[in-house]
Amino acid sequence: MKLKSSLKYSWLTYRRDSLWFPLAFLALFVVIVLIMRHPAVRFSIARAYLGFIVPLIGGILAAYAVLDDPALELRFSTPVRAEQTLLARVGLILAVQAACAFVFQLFVGALGIDLSPLGGLLRVQLVWFLPTLSLAALGTAGALAGAQTTMGAFLAGAVWLVQLMMNSWLRLNARSAFLFLGVLAPRDPGLALNQFVLFGGSMALLLVSWALLRRQERYL
């Protein structure tokens, strides 16, 4: 019951632009897919949304998730632990991104767009989830380290952009830390290690975020 109430208020206090922003991109890509007729183009757009757009939005929104709270000082005065705050705030961002990704997959599935070149059903989920988790963790850690939401959003956006621009080089030289290996090279033999590194790196960044969030005075 407490969890239910807690989730209810997490949702009620969720910033509305953190909802409209991903929904607007979802709607935009739905429209683009509808406009395009060629199957290969439709697949590319679907892949771009899941593999690039969902992670970018997740990273940017996660940067605002913890610190952009009007009642932050009151929250800090309660016995709520840092890990609970982190889980509730970043978890909600990931949940919204997951909902968008699932709705989009249902939509493209209904249009007959085949996502199997990205792998089986589970692998397709990893294509968007791991980069989203990584950028969300980076955005959160960046915001907390700089005690500034824009710092986290900038960091997540910059890493996204640099990785996208240097994708050929990263695929050859640093594939295990390449955010988009799953979407650009789904049959790469190093994909399992890449997934492991992305997950491990995300956990490490969330651990850093947890340690930073315990130092509450930095954010007042």
Binding site: M1, K2, S5, S6, Y9, L12, T13, D69, P70, A71, L72, E73, L74, R75, F76, S77, T78, P79, V80, R81, R214, R215, Q216, E217, L220
Partner: protein, 303 residues
Amino acid sequence: MIEDCAIGIEGLTKIYGRGSKAAQALRGVDLRIPSGMFGLLGPNGAGKTTLMRILAGIVNPSRGAVRVEGHDLTTERGKRGAKAILGYLPQELGMYPELTAAQFVDYMAILKGLDEPRQRERRVAEVLEMVALQDSAHRKIKGFSGGMKRRVGIAQALVNDPRVLIVDEPTAGLDPEERIRFRNLLVNLAADRTVILSTHIVEDIGQTCRDIAVLAKGRALFRGSPAELTNAAAGHVWTVMMDRLAEPEQGLTIVSMLHLSDGIQYRLVGPSAQAYPTAEPARPSLEDGYVWLMKSAGEAKTG
């Protein structure tokens, strides 16, 4: 012993930043605060908010010992323990404008660990009634006045029935009627708990507290009763009638000016009023006592 009182503070020092950018907000503060209403007075920048935040377990002390109802605030465990028995109303009260008053207080109750829904619902209704907001409980906070928001703030602070209530500048921005209502509410609450009222408004302290401390530049300058602070200014307060007084002499401070038909009546606080032969000694007020204390410590603003 700092364990013997509701709140014990010993050698409390807080330094923000490092190296050349370091700023010392508290400089070895020692205070023993018993239960009841306690006033913390001081000018802006005295370190009051830092002290309040340390007592609320939000800011870590750099040095010294702090205990709230036996909980050691220099440890994580102690801070969590203190937070469970604490109600806190910060100076800058942020809320979720889209929530109703009842929802906001209910949410804070959940964060404070009140798990049982029916008990929580009952308690939310109780505290909203205590702050006379029962009729507005289901209105969104965004439509509330400053005073109503402050009352929601107090309601959330009380929802866990705290043994210690910390309120930082609670009457700032309130109209006189709201201020009086708020002060009375705090006095009632102090009957069975410790209430720490931090403010720079001398009148608020005088009307509510038996026990006060004055903080300036991070140091506790005074600890005692309002009457003792008032008496400290005895022999240092005068009134004088003049046409115009541009700069007061001999380190005197103009506490008030009253335009009358035959000139301006100045109220002066300072070591001596010999420069004004017509000056008449006056009975000190708490505000005079505060100004005299600040002057004695070299903290007073001139003019």
